[in-house]
């Protein structure tokens, strides 16, 4: 439990640092929000009044503290380009992106773990080479290219979903998940290939270790040894790898959302970057960063459960 407490403390610290960096960086480059909001109507008096009203005259750290609290109270400032609270803009989109990532993650785990274990048991031969080639090929296909092909196949040819008409999670959960499923397929393919490869090399590395050889030479059957000992030890790096995968999915989904026309954080982020809508960019970046850090923490906590010998910092 002490480990968990320490790990969570570290998580909180990282989050504070990440958000502080984001806040300061965007505060520096975004110039004066009051001038930006007023645009051509800006006069020195109006700017001063708006600065006062927005509380921009207070020290940086005070504003940072308030902004950080905003993630809990739902007040993240106003978007420059939509003149709407940032929170209202992004809250519905966070859920969409989370669902897409979650679905993709499920798909990756469900497909790659059985595949990886199977491929770890066989090795060499022509089949092995073919497998490696297919694996490399899958890793080489960018998700947005697969996305274009898949959306054409499933939407235009088969008409299994209507491209561009994302029903909305609150209106039709089933329909939305179905829509997201096709996007998650595009996201999952290269990641499945990587996970299978990773699993295979980890398990095979473990199988070569002395304790496994001893167990087998004692007459235990290979399958039994695989499940009883090898898997447990191999699981630790795999969980760490999956956490990394979670982070990568979030990043790739930015592009795939664009391909499938999914109203998620990714599209919002790209539009906000082009519009130089810094309050929105800032909030989205921090949310995505939190998500990445959280995935790492959860992985560490799980690993510690699997192998209690692990100590802080020694997990990866």
């Amino acid at each position: 439990m002490k480990y968990a407490a320490k790990r969570v403390a570290m998580l909180l610290l990282t989050m504070v640092i990440v958000s502080l960096l984001a806040f300061v960086a965007f505060d520096l480059i975004s110039g004066d929000p009051a001038t930006a909001m007023l645009g051509t109507e800006a006069t020195p008096e109006k700017v001063a009044a708006l600065r006062e009203q927005l509380g921009l005259n207070r020290p940086l750290m005070v504003r940072y503290g308030e902004w950080l609290l905003g993630f809990f109270t739902g007040d993240l400032g106003m978007s420059y380009s939509y003149r709407q609270p940032v929170w209202d803009l992004i809250a519905p989109k966070v859920l969409v992106t989370l669902c897409l990532s979650g679905l993709t993650f499920l798909l990756i785990v469900a497909v790659s773990i059985p595949l990886g274990l199977r491929s770890a048991r066989q090795s060499g031969g022509v089949l092995g080479s073919v497998r490696t080639l297919v694996n490399q090929l899958c890793m080489a296909v960018p998700p947005f290219f697969t996305g274009i092909l898949l959306s054409y196949l499933f939407s235009t040819v088969l008409r299994w979903f209507v491209h561009g008409q994302f029903p909305g999670l609150d209106k039709d959960l089933g329909g939305s998940l179905k829509y997201l499923f096709f996007a998650s397929l595009a996201l999952a393919i290269p990641r499945v290939a990587m996970t299978v490869r990773m699993l295979r090399s980890t398990v095979q590395g473990e199988m070569r270790k002395d304790y496994v050889r001893t167990a087998i030479s004692r007459g235990n059957d290979r399958g039994g040894v695989l499940y009883q000992h090898v898997l447990k030890n191999a699981l630790v790096p795999v969980v760490t790898f999956l956490a990394q995968t979670m982070a990568e999915i979030v990043a790739s989904s930015i592009v795939v959302e664009q391909v499938f026309g999914i109203p998620g954080l990714g599209r919002m982020l790209v539009a906000s970057i082009s519009n130089r809508d810094y309050p929105t960019v800032q909030a989205i970046v921090v949310i995505l960063a939190f998500w990445v850090v959280l995935a790492g923490t959860v992985a560490d906590l799980i690993n510690q459960r699997i192998d209690p010998r692990l100590r802080l910092g020694g997990a990866s």
Partner: protein
């Protein structure tokens, strides 16, 4: 075996953590508004219309900047008079009007039974409030510059309003299409209320705008119960959405895409009420030199642009006027500059750029037609040694940097008219105009403009406007290209779409065929 189970259980737990984050969150969202009417009707009498960009931040009709906002909100707002598809004005909120002998006093009788979308009847007070609001010049230029000549708006009785002018103007009536709003209501920015055949229901930024039929509309009611405007900023996604059936109607379709459409759609062809041009910032070097601008005109092969980027659809223009504005359009200006690279080089050499120069074109990335045009122009200008860098920007950035901020060299875009008069097109190029985003400065033009707006004789005024158009063409204020064809994709089974000589989209006449 037990350990294997534990391992998988742990993995499952991880997944659950992910899923609950997702599932739990979406449950919170369920109480969002649900539309009862869609459940009741056996066949949903509603359509989805694709639009290329989000509307203005504010939906207040008097503060509209983007043509796209006017286009959509045309269904929600009406003025004392409103435009008809053939370019006339027809009484709307006013049932009738008279003009005094000296052309200085307009008396409007309001129509009985006109109601706002909130159920309140339209009164003379509302009319006075709305017109005064547009004419208020206490903070600089009024919202409608043409209203500067209003001396007074008077409420005679409940149903009668008179407007007196300081000078006669035969265009004044065209501007009375300005929306009539309920007096004192301050929610127009986010929850607009008008009197049109559709009422505003909701808006989700970057996503949708929903309108519903207004049951107490005074005139011919809309056929459709509900219209959802779906914002699809990426032209490619728009194409996919049309193909897949997510969108029933979409105008301003790029021709390449229109030609790709499946049999589910038919195309209605009109002429867009705007002038597409390479708008040039006349205030920055080297474009402050008329010879450079003329060189650009000579270096532009307009027909090739139409052929390459518009599949041959579109009509050439030579100044800031489009053909559907009928009598104001001067066809002879179209050929002021014909494609001639030798002449262009000559002019460039005269201006001191014998080897050309580097320039930037800022284009709104959500308009593929304009981006395509810029690409063709960039290629054409190579022939005279001009190196073009194309900068695609989001529409919001375009508005703030180019249109409002005027921080650009050149831009490809279409400019439309807010009312059906030549003035609406030409006013922006007078040096004092707040929306003179090309920074055009020409004393002769300013003088002509003053003469034109105070002239009461229609023929004389039209002649003056034509002189202004010629002034723009001769001085190569911009590189005028064309009035693009307006291709509207309509799902088969829908009918009644009408074109206006204005940048609007009237959905009240659109209906499902019986």
């Amino acid at each position: 075996m037990k350990k294997r189970l534990t391992a998988f259980l742990l993995l499952a737990a991880l997944l659950c953590a992910v899923l609950t984050g997702c599932g739990g969150g979406s449950a919170d969202q369920t109480p969002a508004e649900k539309d009862p009417s869609t459940d009741a009707a056996p066949v949903a009498n509603e359509i989805t219309v694709g639009i290329a960009n989000d509307l203005d931040d504010s939906l207040d009709p008097h503060k509209t900047v983007k043509a796209g906002t006017r286009e959509v909100m045309f269904n929600v707002f009406e003025g004392l008079v409103k435009p008809t598809p053939d370019g006339d004005l027809t009484p709307a909120i006013a049932e009738d009007y008279t003009v005094s002998e000296d052309h200085l006093t307009y008396t409007f009788t309001l129509r009985e039974g006109v109601k706002f979308h909130n159920g309140d009847p339209v009164t003379a007070e509302d009319v006075k409030y709305s017109i005064d609001r547009c004419a208020d010049d206490s903070e600089g230029e009024p919202l409608v510059p043409a209203f500067l000549i209003i001396r007074e708006v008077q409420v005679v009785d409940e149903k009668t309003v008179t407007i007196t002018l300081t000078e006669p103007s035969n265009e004044f009536l065209s501007y009375l299409t300005a929306a009539i709003l309920p007096a004192g209501y301050d929610g127009q920015d986010t929850a607009p209320i008008g009197t049109g055949p559709f009422k505003f229901v909701s808006r989700a930024a970057q996503d949708t705008i929903v309108l519903e039929k207004f049951d107490e509309y005074w005139g011919d009611p809309a056929y459709l119960d509900k219209v959802t405007f779906k914002i699809v900023e990426n032209a490619d996604s728009l194409m996919m959405s049309l193909q897949s059936g997510a969108i029933d109607l979409c105008n301003h379709l790029p021709t390449t895409q229109a030609l790709q459409l499946s049999d589910d759609f038919y195309i209605v062809e009109g002429c867009m009420s705007l002038v597409q041009a390479l708008y040039v910032n006349n205030a920055v070097a080297p474009f402050d030199d008329v010879r450079v601008r003329q060189a650009l005109c000579y270096a532009t092969d307009r027909q090739q642009i139409i052929d390459l980027a518009f599949d041959g659809y579109g009509s050439l223009v030579g100044s800031s006027m489009y053909p559907t504005l009928g009598k104001y359009f001067d066809d002879s200006l179209t050929d002021t500059y014909t494609y001639d690279t030798a002449k262009a080089k000559e002019l460039l050499a005269e201006a001191g750029y014998p080897d050309g120069f580097d320039m930037t074109m800022t284009v709104p990335s959500n308009y593929p037609q304009h981006v395509d045009t810029a690409e063709v122009l960039a290629e054409q200008y190579k022939a005279v040694g001009i190196n073009v860098e194309i900068i695609p920007v989001e529409w919001n950035s375009w508005i703030s940097d180019v249109y409002v901020g005027r921080q650009y060299q050149t831009t490809v875009v279409g400019v439309d008219a807010s009312a059906m008069t030549a003035r609406a097109m030409l006013e922006r190029f007078n040096s004092q105009a707040g929306n003179n985003f090309v920074n055009y400065q020409n004393d002769e033009y300013d003088a002509l403009f003053q003469q034109a707006i105070t002239c009461y004789d229609d023929a004389e005024q039209t002649a003056l406007y034509k002189q202004m158009e010629k002034n723009l063409a001769d001085n190569a204020a911009n590189v005028y290209i064309q009035a693009p064809a307006d291709l509207v994709a309509v799902r088969k089974g829908l009918e009644g779409f009408q074109f206006y000589p204005l940048y609007v989209m009237d959905l009240s006449t659109v209906r499902f065929a019986q």
